[in-house]
Amino acid sequence: MTRLAADRVTVRRGGKAIVDAVSLALEGGQFVALIGPNGAGKSTLLSALAGLLAPESGTVSLDGVPLARIERRALARSRAYLPQGPRAEWPVSVERLVALGLTPRLPAFGGLPDAMRKRVAEVLAQVDLAAHRDQPVTTLSGGELARAMLARALVGDPAVLLADEPLAGLDPRHALGSVARLRGLADQGKLVVAAIHELPLAARYATHVAALHQGRLVAFGPTARTLTAALLRSVFDVDARVAAAGTPAATVDFTSPVAGECE
C-alpha cells in the first residue's frame, strides 16, 4: 500500500510561511479533498507533496523514502502531478499530449511502443476524448483540455495522483464525471490528493478531507467526520449546512457569510 507522508513541512516565501509545519500521513485508497480559501497554501503544499518544491524544513516521504532521495524518473513513474489550469504550449495532437504522460517509462531512444499506444487509446476513451484523438490540443475547449490533461496524468498509471483544482472550469456533467473518476482511482487502491473548491462534490466523493487555513493544516480525517459546518465556518468564514457528508447523497448549502463579506 502506497504511503505519502509529510512531516512538519514548512515552505516560506518572502519570510512568510506559505505552508506552516504541515504533517499528514496519507495512503493508497484515499481520495483526499484538500480544501481551504484562496491563499491558504493548497497549491504550495501540493507542489511540496509532489517533490517539485523542496520545503524549507520538514520532509515529504513516499513509502518511507524522502522524495529528495528518489530518482526523478522513478518518482515520475509513481506519482503524477497536475498543476492548476494546465496549458499546452504547442498545437500537438491530443494523443501526443496524453502520450507525454508516458515519458518516464519510455526507452531512452525511439518512438512510442505499440503497447503504450494502446494504453493511450484506453485512457482517451475513459475521459471521453477518443473522438478527438488527432485534434490539435490548442483547439480543444477548456473542459476538453482539462480532461486531456487528466488523461495525461492517468496514462502512466501512477500510484499517487496530486491534482491542483482538477475540476475548475468543467461543466457540471464533466465535473461529476471527473470527480467520480478520481474516486474510482482511490477505490482501485491509489492515493488521490486534489485541491477542490467544489465542496458539494468533495462531500460526496472524497474519502478524506484535509483543510488548510493560513498555511496550517486545521483538520484532516474521513469526510463524514471532518467536513462539518463548524469546519467550514472556521476555514471559509461562511455559514453552511452540511448533510450526509461522505455519502453520495451529501449536500453542502451555503447560507450567508459570517462576517458579512467574503474574499
Binding site: A80, P83, P104, R152
Partner: protein, 328 residues
C-alpha cells in the same frame, strides 16, 4: 508515417539539389561535365581547384551553419516555448561575432589557431547567458533582452574594429554583421567542426525534455525532466555550435527563425521532431540563399546575411502579427 517519410524524402532531395547547385554555380561558369570529371580526377586543374578549394568548402560551410542555425532555433524555441527565439534575435550570433573579431583582430588567432572558434563560443555563451537570464518571463521580455544584447554586442564589434590595428577593419565590420560563407578555407571549417558537432549533440540531447515542456515547466518537472540540465544543454549547445559556426561566417540572421517554423506543421508540432528537420531545412535555406547571392549581379558579391534578412524579415513580421492576434 508514410506522409512523414514523404516529407523527409522531399527534404533530402531538396538538400541534394541545393548542394549540387551550389557546387555547379559560381562567378566562373564551368561546364558541369568538366566539373564532374575533375571531381573524379583530383589533379590540379582549374576545375578541380575551384571545386575543391572554393565551392566545396563554401557549400559545406553553408550546409553546416544552416543546419546549426536551424537546430539551435528549434531547440531554443522548444525550450522557451517562444516562437520568436533564435540565435540571431537572442544576440547569440552578435556575441559570437564579437568574440571572433577580438580573436582575429587582436592577434590571438595568429598565436593560436583555435582562438577564433573558442572566442566565438565564449562570446556566444556570454550573450546567450545574459539573454536567457534577463529575458526569462515571456516572449516579449526575451525578445527585448535579445535586442539589447545584440545592440551591445554590435556596438562592441564596431568599437573593437575601430580600435583594431588593421586599417581595413572598418570595412570588415559588414562581414561580421551580415555574415558570409564566401572564400572560407577548409582549415577554418575543420577547426570549428568538432565544436559544432559537440554543440549539435548537446542540442539533440534536449529532445525529450523539450517534448514534455509542451506541458509547461511544472508538469515537465513532475514527469522527471531536469530543467536545469536542459537549459544548460541548450545554452552550451547553442553557444558551441552557433559560436563556432559564426566565428567562421559572421552573424547570419533569420535562418534559425524560419527553419523550425517551416517544418513544424509537418511533424505534428512535436518539439523533438522539429529538431532534425529544422536542421535539414536550415541547411537547405542557407545553401539556396548563398547560391542566390552568386546569381545577383553586383560588382562585389552580395553578403549572404543581406539575403537571409531580406527573406526573413517579412516572415518575422508575419509571426509578430500572428502572435499579436493569438495572445491576449
Amino acid at each position: 508515417m508514410v506522409r512523414r517519410r514523404g516529407w523527409l524524402a522531399l527534404g533530402l532531395a531538396l538538400l541534394l539539389a541545393a548542394t549540387l547547385l551550389s557546387l555547379a554555380i559560381g562567378r566562373v561558369w564551368l561546364d558541369p561535365r568538366v566539373l564532374l570529371a575533375s571531381a573524379f580526377a583530383p589533379e590540379p586543374s582549374l576545375a578541380w581547384l575551384i571545386l575543391s578549394e572554393v565551392r566545396a568548402p563554401r557549400t559545406v560551410l553553408a550546409l553546416v551553419s544552416g543546419a546549426t542555425l536551424g537546430l539551435a532555433g528549434a531547440a531554443l524555441q522548444g525550450l522557451l516555448r517562444n516562437p520568436l527565439a533564435e540565435p540571431g534575435l537572442l544576440g547569440v550570433s552578435a556575441g559570437a561575432s564579437l568574440g571572433a573579431v577580438l580573436a582575429i583582430y587582436f592577434g590571438f588567432s595568429t598565436a593560436f589557431a583555435l582562438a577564433t572558434p573558442v572566442c566565438g563560443i565564449a562570446g556566444a555563451f556570454v550573450a546567450a547567458a545574459i539573454t536567457l537570464t534577463v529575458g526569462r518571463g515571456g516572449t516579449l521580455t526575451m525578445i527585448l533582452a535579445g535586442a539589447a544584447v545584440s545592440g551591445v554586442m554590435g556596438a562592441g564589434l564596431s568599437l573593437a574594429l575601430n580600435l583594431a590595428p588593421s586599417p581595413y577593419a572598418a570595412y570588415e565590420i559588414t562581414t561580421w554583421l551580415l555574415g558570409s560563407v564566401a572564400d572560407r578555407d577548409w582549415q577554418a571549417i575543420l577547426l570549428a567542426a568538432p565544436f559544432i558537432a559537440v554543440g549539435w549533440l548537446c542540442l539533440l540531447l534536449t529532445a525529450r525534455d523539450l517534448d514534455v515542456l509542451t506541458l509547461g515547466e511544472a508538469q515537465a518537472e513532475s514527469l522527471g525532466a531536469d530543467l536545469a540540465r536542459t537549459r544548460l544543454l541548450a545554452l552550451a549547445g547553442t553557444a558551441m555550435a552557433v559560436g563556432a559556426a559564426t566565428a567562421v561566417t559572421g552573424a547570419i540572421g533569420f535562418i534559425g527563425l524560419l527553419a523550425p517554423h517551416l517544418v513544424r506543421p509537418f511533424v505534428g508540432h512535436q518539439p523533438s521532431r522539429v529538431l532534425l528537420p529544422a536542421a535539414l531545412f536550415g541547411a537547405i535555406l542557407l545553401v539556396l540563399c548563398d547560391v542566390a547571392s552568386r546569381f545577383i549581379p553586383t560588382a562585389l558579391e552580395l553578403k549572404l546575411g543581406v539575403l537571409t534578412s531580406l527573406a526573413g524579415t517579412p516572415f518575422f513580421f508575419w509571426l509578430v502579427l500572428r502572435l499579436r492576434r493569438t495572445s491576449p
